[in-house]
Amino acid sequence: MDRLNFINPFGVRYQPDMVSGDFYTKNFAKGAAENTIILNLGPQHPSTHGVLRVIVELDGEYVIRAEPVLGYLHRMHDKMGEVKTPWQFLPNMGRVDYLHPIAWNWAHVGAVEMLAGISVPERAEYLRVISCELNRISSHLVWWGAFVMDLGGVTPILYAFEEREKINDILQIVTGSRLTMSYFRFGGVCADADDRFLKLIEQFIPYLRKRLKMYKALVTDNVILRRRLENVGPMGLDICQRYGATGPILRAAGLAKDTRRDIPYGVYSKFAFPIPSGPTDDCYGRYLVRLREIETSLLIIEQAISSLPDGPIVIPKAPKPTFKLPAGESYFAVEGARGQVAVHLVSDGGKTPYRVKLRAPGFSNLSLFAEAARGTLLADAIAILGSLDLVIPEVDR
């Protein structure tokens, strides 16, 4: 009787061999209570944004336990970092997080520059800031659309992609690509900004501000949306500390912690910008924090454009592709759209690094899902999952 697997009408306690499914389902079912359903959400599920798989134990519509299962998009970037030279490894960074590749560019390039003691010309630093912030906006826009789609509103994502299209058009002028950007080089960036690039950005900033007002009127203030998000999935400072959550989740919990401000890298210390920290630590707070971060990024871009200095975009003695890192270690963190992105680089002085460890913010953020989703409704669990802003290639690396 295969149906025993999920109906279980006689109150029989789950036995691992009673459960059909793979290793992870059986492992999860060991702790199941009586009269519950074990449900696999994913790896192919409309609201897991790629190939995340979450096993949930349901009592009716209530989630008793949940366990994310990772690895469906695992590509072993850590190993690739060890067998490739830093130059060869650079394009991988665009593939780790396809929504905010520039932050990963920066983390890797920054770690190498820190270890090798390379300084960067000022114009390149400004271009780094501009491209990173534009990319952050496009990442938040995609999250916004996908999150509202998780809640059943299918229209906003098409509006979000309209804006993202414009950002991609701008970024492709300097980076040459639209998705897996590999813009940074050790000691600078690969292409200079031309007048068209700057002009398009200047047109884009007021346009997006106008659109953000419309989004607030159309979506953010919608009563159904607010009722779906308010008081759903509270994540306080305690859970953030225990799970190492960073980024908008931590800021929504009320702590204005942002690597751009705390440990200023690049030229972020020259700009004045607020760190939005949310009024509430629920899904709605995280939603508001991300939307306000778009405005923050616009502020930074505005300042950077107005004070963009002239000069070279890469240092004269830029490292050749064959350069060797000195022995030692470096840990370089930047603020990605999802939280603190960091690269830990250990070198023994050879051609390739001895160890490359990528710190993905989504990995830590997702690990608290199991605790946050406990006892919520299935629809709330989906909302919580969406509010974490997951990019599965980044979680799995």
């Binding site: 149906r3 359903i37 449900l39 919608n222 159904i224 949306l225 779906r228 629809a379």
Partner: protein, 324 residues
């Protein structure tokens, strides 16, 4: 009612026409839904096949007809195939008592609305069977949701219609239409605005359309009770969903918006215009709002719609008793 050979012929012809209406409605509504969605989402919608993409819906239905019938393992074969048929065929009966025009009624019965409400209950049975028989947990959850939602929203719907029945003093749909005047201010919507509002909300809930599409909530249950259906099985659910939408729109037009009576010239065109405006309204809210949560859906019903409908019915009854 006298059951003569003539009335059998009449019913037979009516059923044939209703099948044509259902299929034609689905084709038209697929086109309008996709164009409407495109308009709301600032994109062109279908435009490739035929002039302005009008042939698109036909191509879609051809594709559904031509697909392989895929049956997952461990399904209950009889129920699995019975469910889409059960979803489709009762809807045919539901259209019989609807007065499309002054003389255009499949079956003039005195208790027409009872017939409609009774057979409308079949829809939820097909949902349960589909969810249960396909041996899929998403299907089962969707079926469970469909049951509680359907039962919940039927009650305020019936109470809202009952208020109109009190006013007209008849369960016969044709008489209800005839009791209303040709001009909009003579329609029941102005006598019973609250009942109209309750019916409007319940009809979206009853047809499982967004924002109340909980039984097939895509982001939660992939496709709910029809997760495991493909090709014609899915197409029948699809047809019956659009037919149900059309039915509740017709009932709404008949009860609240004067049916075939309209300004200048009474006739069946008024019924169709009103019904399709309501259909476009349903399409509009589907592409605009996010989905409500399941407990919010039931709370809305049991805490607001149902008490309001009862109060409305009571006031109507008292008013009829004292002022009539």
């Amino acid at each position: 009612m006298e059951l003569s050979i003539a009335s059998f012929v009449q019913i037979f012809v009516a059923v044939l026409l209703i099948i044509g209406l259902m299929v034609g409605n689905a084709v038209v509504m697929v086109y309008f839904e996709r164009k409407g969605a495109g308009f709301i989402q600032r994109r062109p919608g279908p435009y490739e096949v035929g002039p302005w993409g009008t042939i698109q819906a036909v191509c879609d239905s051809m594709k559904l007809l031509g697909k392989q019938i895929f049956v997952p393992g461990n399904v209950d074969w009889i129920l699995y195939f019975a469910a889409p048929i059960l979803a489709f065929f009762p809807v045919l009966l539901l259209f019989l008592p609807i007065p499309f025009g002054p003389y255009l009624t499949g079956l003039k019965v005195d208790d027409g609305i009872l017939l409609i409400l009774a057979f409308a209950g079949f829809g939820v049975i097909s949902n349960i069977l589909a969810g249960w028989a396909s041996n899929n947990k998403f299907g089962l959850l969707g079926a469970a949701r469909a049951v509680s939602q359907s039962i919940a929203y039927e009650i305020p719907m019936i109470l809202a219609l009952l208020a109109v029945v009190f006013l007209s003093g008849s369960l016969n749909l044709s008489e209800i239409v005839e009791n209303q005047g040709s001009w909009p201010w003579q329609w029941n919507i102005f006598v019973q605005p609250l009942a109209f509002f309750i019916y409007l909300v319940s009809m979206v809930g009853e047809t499982n359309r967004a924002p109340f599409d909980l039984p097939e909530a895509e982001s939660e249950l992939t496709a709910g009770f029809h997760t495991e259906y493909s090709c014609m099985g899915f197409a029948l659910f699809f047809l019956s969903e659009y037919a149900n939408m059309l039915l509740v729109s017709f009932v709404c037009a008949t009860f609240f918006l004067g049916g075939w009576r309209g300004p200048f010239l009474d006739g069946f065109w008024w019924t169709f215009i009103k019904a399709y405006v309501l259909m476009l309204f349903i399409v509009w809210i589907r592409w605009t709002f996010p989905r409500v949560r399941f407990d919010q859906l039931l709370n809305l019903n049991w805490r607001w719609l149902l008490p309001l409908a009862i109060i409305n019915l009571w006031i109507t009854a008292v008013a009829i008793k004292f002022f009539d």
